[in-house]
């Protein structure tokens, strides 16, 4: 009798635990939107999203986050330009060119790359990449090293493990008959891999790119240490810029009233970006299945 009650009771305990993640998402949505949307209304959605001036402590203050939106977009685009070709080609190497003894070393190495905390990446960017860009590129392109270019390189490295892991799995999932067929028709190993196997894995590779975009756009601590963080429209690849994430971290510590609410609204915009990326990811995976 007692065990039967316990059975029933524990079933509800397990169910409650399963509902926790739903509760968490609901709470996150409610608190973010409740904190951010009033500010968007007060500032005016149009002025907030497309305003080019972010001067929260001036009188009168101006809350336009277009510079940060552009900063995030440029930095993410840069990370994709750097990370995707190298990542996908490394995935091709890992799946079709890598001798087994090397693979045993390289596979854990990519996992290691994924495990390094973003502060350590940021610190590395600060002490190695920023001086390098300042001293070697600064002569030609100007700028002080903290730039969208530097952030793109660093983020490009940071998204590599995501791109490599997901792409490699996708490439390995292609039936070997594709490769064998191509080789049987006389194509070289390289041509078979690139023109028969990789195109068949393109939806998986696209998924890896989307996951990489999600990681790059949400990255905070690494970007803040190398991007310069000037709250104005980015003027060039080798000039500084500020991302949405950096905007929140830099000013949340002292912001009050409308300024604080505008920062929360910045978080809402970031959250919406991420939800859109998740949506794209889900649609892509559904299409891949059917």
């Amino acid at each position: 009798m007692a065990t039967k009650q316990l059975e029933g009771f524990m079933k509800y305990v397990f169910m409650m635990a399963a509902l926790a993640s739903i509760l968490a998402v609901a709470l996150i949505c409610v608190f973010l939107f409740a904190g951010g949307i009033p500010a968007m209304i007060e500032i005016g959605l149009f002025d907030f999203l497309l305003g080019r001036q972010w001067t929260p402590v001036d009188t009168p203050p101006s809350f336009g986050i277009l510079p940060m939106v552009m900063g995030s977009l440029y930095v993410t685009l840069g990370a994709i330009v750097v990370g995707v070709p190298i990542g996908v080609l490394t995935a091709v190497f890992m799946s079709h060119f890598c001798p087994p003894f090397l693979y045993k070393v390289l596979k854990p190495a990519t996992q290691l790359l994924a495990g390094i905390p973003s502060v350590v990446y940021g610190f590395f960017g600060l002490v190695v990449l920023v001086p390098f860009v300042r001293d070697h590129m600064g002569l030609i392109f100007g700028g002080n090293g903290s730039s969208i270019f530097t952030a793109s390189i660093l983020l490009g490295i940071m998204i590599l493990p995501t791109i490599i892991g997901v792409s490699e799995a996708a490439i390995r999932a292609v039936p070997s008959s594709y490769y064998e067929g191509a080789v049987a028709l006389g194509a070289s190993h390289e041509r078979s891999v690139f023109f028969a196997v990789v195109p068949a894995a393109k939806s998986g590779i696209l998924t890896s790119v989307i996951l990489g975009i999600g990681r790059a756009i949400g990255e905070t601590m690494a970007v803040i240490m190398v991007a310069g963080n000037q709250a104005r429209m980015p003027t060039g690849l080798f000039r500084g810029g500020r991302t949405l994430t950096a905007n929140i971290v830099m000013e949340m510590g002292y912001a009050a009233d409308l300024h604080r609410a505008a920062l929360i609204a910045t978080g809402v915009i970031l959250f919406v970006f991420i939800l859109l990326i998740n949506l794209a990811f889900t649609i892509l995976r559904r299409r891949g299945r059917s």
Partner: protein
């Protein structure tokens, strides 16, 4: 033996590449990319270790933190408390919900799909958004102010999907014959889950928990505005304190203690890498066992 017939020597390959320069170009491209990837990793780790290890002085581990010795002892202790607290919350929640999804819920039921979708959403949310939510909900709305507890709750939501997913995979890997055997011997569902299913899924669950520890140790953005950045040993879970990753960030961004920041980075790197290696070992044991 047929291997030998089809085997290409390096000379054969070279000849083939000369005939087909485009293939050679593709080959070079692939090798070059792999080289760049692993050179970047080696350079990063090598640079931090070489510059950091000489600065691992005893004063960095002094019990009292002063602005002169920038000791990391308090941050280490805070990190351990943070890991403990966050796991205390997310561990049971994650494991229980995985049990529900795998053992109780009907396959393809609507609740199950919703839970899965929300878990996926959670795993895509950037840590700064978690930090912002923690600030709004735990710190401000619940009035906990900057505290270890607020940080731990924020982090437990963050690692929840990770623990859920790895536990569910580990439970799925337990053959149904185990459950059937247990039922046939007259054990109830609960006893079967706790004595039979969970027992054989332990390595997989452990691998997930260890991965979660790695994420908690390395996390910064979600903690700055929830646990705070005060350099002290907290009196209890309601007071503020910085973890090692935050300590490292403060040192690096202040720019006054670059050598000490290197040394702290070494400690952080060693801990996180060690934790990940441990998780890999646990996962391997699952495959064998």
């Amino acid at each position: 033996m047929s291997d030998h017939i089809n085997r290409q020597t390096w000379a054969d390959k070279l000849r083939a590449y000369r005939k087909n320069p485009f293939s050679a170009f593709l080959f070079l491209l692939v090798v070059l990319s792999a080289l760049i990837t692993f050179a970047a990793l080696l350079f990063l780790i090598g640079h931090i270790l070489i510059r950091g290890i000489p600065h691992l002085t005893p004063s960095l581990f002094a019990w009292e933190h002063t602005s002169a010795n920038v000791s990391m002892t308090h941050a280490l202790i805070n990190t351990i408390s943070m890991v403990g607290l966050a796991l205390l919350i997310s561990g049971p929640l994650g494991i229980f919900s995985a049990i529900y999804l795998n053992e109780y819920a009907k396959r393809g039921s609507r609740l199950m799909n919703v839970v899965r979708m929300t878990a996926e959403t959670l795993s895509g949310i950037p840590s700064i958004v978690y930090g912002l939510f923690g600030l709004l909900f735990f710190v401000t709305y619940l009035g906990w102010s900057f505290s270890l507890l607020a940080g731990a709750f924020t982090l437990s939501i963050m690692v929840l999907p990770l623990i859920m997913r790895t536990t569910e995979e580990a439970l799925k890997a337990v053959p149904d014959s185990y459950r059937e055997g247990s039922f046939a011997l007259g054990a109830g569902k609960l006893r079967t889950i706790f004595k039979i299913v969970l027992g054989s899924a332990v390595p997989g669950i452990l691998a997930g928990i260890i991965l979660a520890i790695g994420r908690i140790v390395g996390e910064t953005a979600a903690l700055i505005y929830t646990a705070g950045t005060v350099a002290q040993l907290p009196d209890n879970v309601m007071s503020s304190g910085r973890t090692l990753a935050i300590h490292m960030w403060v040192l690096a961004s202040e720019g006054m203690f670059v050598n000490q920041a290197y040394a702290t980075a070494v400690v952080l790197l060693v801990i996180v890498v060690g934790i990940n290696a441990l998780s890999g070992l646990a996962a391997k044991k699952l495959k064998k066992g």
